[in-house]
C-alpha cells in the first residue's frame, strides 16, 4: 500500500494536489502585465493563464470559470485592460463564491502598466504567504481526476506507451478514481468497439455520434486520418491506428461523455468530446496538445498522463503533466524531460502491466509531494482559443 496523499480542501469538497496562484489576463492587451506580475515568482507557485480574444466568448468564459475554480488553484489575480468584452465581474464573483481570494486589477483605471504590475505583485506576494500556511488534509486515490492524451506520437505510442497508460487507467478506476480520455478525431474506426463498452446502453448512439461528428469536422478541416507513413510503420487499417490511440483508455466501462469545462458526475472512465457541435467554426477543435491538456484540466483533472514517442516536452499551467515516453531511443536522448520509460517494453525489459503500474505509482506520488519532470523544468504552457460553446444535451452528465 502506498503512503497517504495530501491535498488542499476546497469549499466544494474537492481537494487539490497543488495550491497555485493564477495571474489571468482577460484580453491579450493585459498579457504582458500578467507576465511581469509573475516574473519574480517560481512557476510552481505562480502561473499565467488567460483568454486572449477581445470579442465575447461563452466558451472562453466557461473555461476560465472552470480553471480559476480548479482544485489545484488557491487564489486568482485577474488583470483586465478595461475595455474588453470579457465578463470579468462575473468571473470574479464565481471565484469569490468558490471561497478563493480574488483580486481584479483594471489597467486603464489603475494608472497604467507599471502601476498595475506593482499592485498585482503586492497582492500575489501576500497570497503566497497565506497559502503557505494553509493546512493539507488526507486525500484518497478515489478523489483523483486524471486525464490522458498522446502527442508527438510515433509507432511506439500505440504498442507500448498507450497500452501502459491504459493499464494505469484501469488501476486508477479500480481504486475509484475518475479518468478522462479524449481525441475522438483519432478514434475513427473504433466507435463501434467503444460503443460496446458503455456502462449504460443509452450512451451507445451518443458515442457513435460523437466520433462521426469528429470525422466530419476534421474532414471539413482537410485533415486525413490514415497516411502512407502509418502503413510503413506497420499499421494496416484505420481501426488499427485508432485502437492504438484508444488503448490509453484501458478496458473499464465508459460512464459517460463530458464536454470541455464539465465535470464527470462520478468516478470511473469518461470520454471528453472536444469537438464542437454544428458546422465547423473558428478552425481546428484544438490547435495543439496544450489546448487539449487545458480542456482535460477544465474538466477537473488534477494531473494528465501524456504519452509521447517522438518526444514532447510540454507541461501545463494548473495541473502536473506526467510524461510517458514509448520510444527507447527518444528516452535515452531526452530523459531529462521524461518521467516514465515505457520503451523498456519494446526491448522486452518490462511488461506493459509493469510500466502501467509505474505510471499509476508516479501519478499518486504527485499527490505525495513529488514533482513531474515538466514541473521541475518550469513548463506551465497554456493555450485557450475561440470555440463554439457547448449546448447542453439530455443524457449527458454535466458536473456541478
Amino acid at each position: 500500500m502506498t503512503a497517504q496523499m495530501q491535498g488542499w480542501l476546497r469549499d466544494d469538497g474537492r481537494k487539490g494536489i497543488r495550491n497555485v496562484v493564477l495571474v489571468a489576463y482577460l484580453v491579450e492587451c493585459a498579457h504582458h502585465v500578467c507576465t511581469r506580475i509573475a516574473r519574480p515568482f517560481d512557476e510552481s507557485e505562480v502561473q499565467v493563464i488567460g483568454f486572449s480574444g477581445c470579442f465575447p466568448s461563452d466558451y472562453g468564459q466557461q473555461m476560465m470559470e472552470a480553471l480559476c475554480t480548479h482544485p489545484n488553484v488557491g487564489a486568482v489575480q485577474l488583470v483586465s485592460l478595461g475595455c474588453e468584452n470579457f465578463k470579468k465581474r462575473r468571473l470574479a464573483e464565481v471565484i469569490e463564491a468558490s471561497g478563493r481570494p480574488v483580486n481584479l486589477v483594471t489597467i486603464q483605471s489603475e494608472g497604467g502598466s507599471q502601476t498595475s504590475i506593482e499592485a498585482g505583485q503586492g497582492w500575489v506576494r501576500a497570497q503566497l504567504a497565506n497559502l503557505a500556511a494553509q493546512p493539507k488534509v488526507p486525500m484518497a486515490v478515489s478523489e483523483l481526476v486524471v486525464g490522458t492524451i498522446c502527442g508527438g506520437s510515433d509507432a511506439t505510442s500505440g504498442i507500448a506507451g498507450n497500452p501502459a497508460a491504459g493499464v494505469a487507467f484501469d488501476r486508477l478506476v479500480a481504486e475509484g478514481a475518475t479518468c478522462i480520455f479524449e481525441e475522438t478525431g483519432e478514434l475513427i474506426g473504433c466507435e463501434h468497439i467503444m460503443a460496446d463498452r458503455v456502462a449504460n446502453p443509452d450512451l451507445r448512439p451518443q458515442i457513435i455520434a460523437t466520433v462521426e461528428k469528429a470525422a466530419h469536422y476534421y474532414a471539413a478541416m482537410g485533415y486525413g486520418s490514415f497516411s502512407n507513413g502509418n502503413a510503413e510503420g506497420g499499421l494496416s487499417s484505420i481501426e488499427e491506428k485508432s485502437l492504438g490511440a484508444y488503448a490509453k483508455s484501458g478496458s473499464s466501462a465508459i460512464q459517460g461523455i463530458v464536454r470541455p469545462a464539465q465535470r464527470p458526475a462520478n468516478g470511473g472512465l469518461w470520454l471528453l468530446d472536444v469537438v464542437p457541435d454544428g458546422e465547423p467554426r473558428f478552425g481546428f477543435p484544438n490547435i495543439n496538445d496544450s489546448a487539449e491538456i487545458i480542456e482535460l484540466i477544465a474538466c477537473g483533472a488534477h494531473a494528465v498522463i501524456f504519452v509521447t514517442g517522438r518526444g514532447s516536452v510540454v507541461g501545463s499551467a494548473i495541473s502536473p503533466v506526467l510524461k510517458v515516453c514509448a520510444n527507447p531511443d527518444t528516452y535515452s536522448r531526452m530523459r531529462e524531460d521524461m518521467d516514465v520509460n515505457a520503451g523498456r517494453i519494446l526491448h522486452g525489459h518490462a511488461s506493459i502491466a509493469e510500466v502501467g503500474e509505474e505510471i499509476r505509482d508516479q501519478l499518486v506520488a504527485l499527490g505525495l509531494g513529488s514533482r513531474s519532470r515538466s514541473e521541475q523544468l518550469g513548463h506551465a504552457e497554456f493555450v485557450l482559443t475561440y470555440k463554439t460553446p457547448v449546448s447542453q444535451q439530455p443524457g449527458c452528465h454535466p458536473g456541478g
Partner: protein, 99 residues
C-alpha cells in the same frame, strides 16, 4: 514464462498476432507462442506477424479487438499487413511504398 521472443509484444492474450518491438531480419528465428518460426523477410518495429494460423475471413485481433479480417489464409509467423488484412471499416487503398 513467456512463450514469445522478448522482441515480440503480445498486446492481449486473445490476439492472433504479435507486434515487433524491434526490427527482425530475414532468416532470423523467433519464438512465437512456444514454436520457433523463421522470419521470411526483414520487418521493422510496429509490424505484425501471425501468432497462430488465421483462416480467410477470420477477424484479426490486436488489443483483443478486431483490426480487420484475413483476406486469405495466413500461416503462423507470416507478416500480417495490407496484402492479407482487409479493414471492416472503410477499405483503404494499397499505398505505394516510398522509393
Amino acid at each position: 514464462m513467456s512463450r514469445d521472443d522478448p522482441r515480440l509484444i503480445r498486446l492481449a492474450n486473445e490476439d492472433n498476432i504479435v507486434v515487433l518491438g524491434a526490427t527482425i531480419h530475414t532468416g532470423e528465428t523467433v519464438l512465437v507462442d512456444g514454436e520457433l518460426i523463421t522470419v521470411p523477410q526483414t520487418l521493422g518495429m510496429g509490424h505484425k506477424i501471425a501468432s497462430r494460423a488465421i483462416h480467410t475471413d477470420e477477424d484479426i485481433l490486436k488489443y483483443g479487438m478486431p483490426i480487420g479480417f484475413a483476406a486469405c489464409d495466413i500461416a503462423r509467423g507470416e507478416h500480417v499487413h495490407l496484402h492479407n488484412l482487409t479493414s471492416r471499416y472503410t477499405p483503404i487503398e494499397i499505398m505505394e511504398t516510398q522509393a
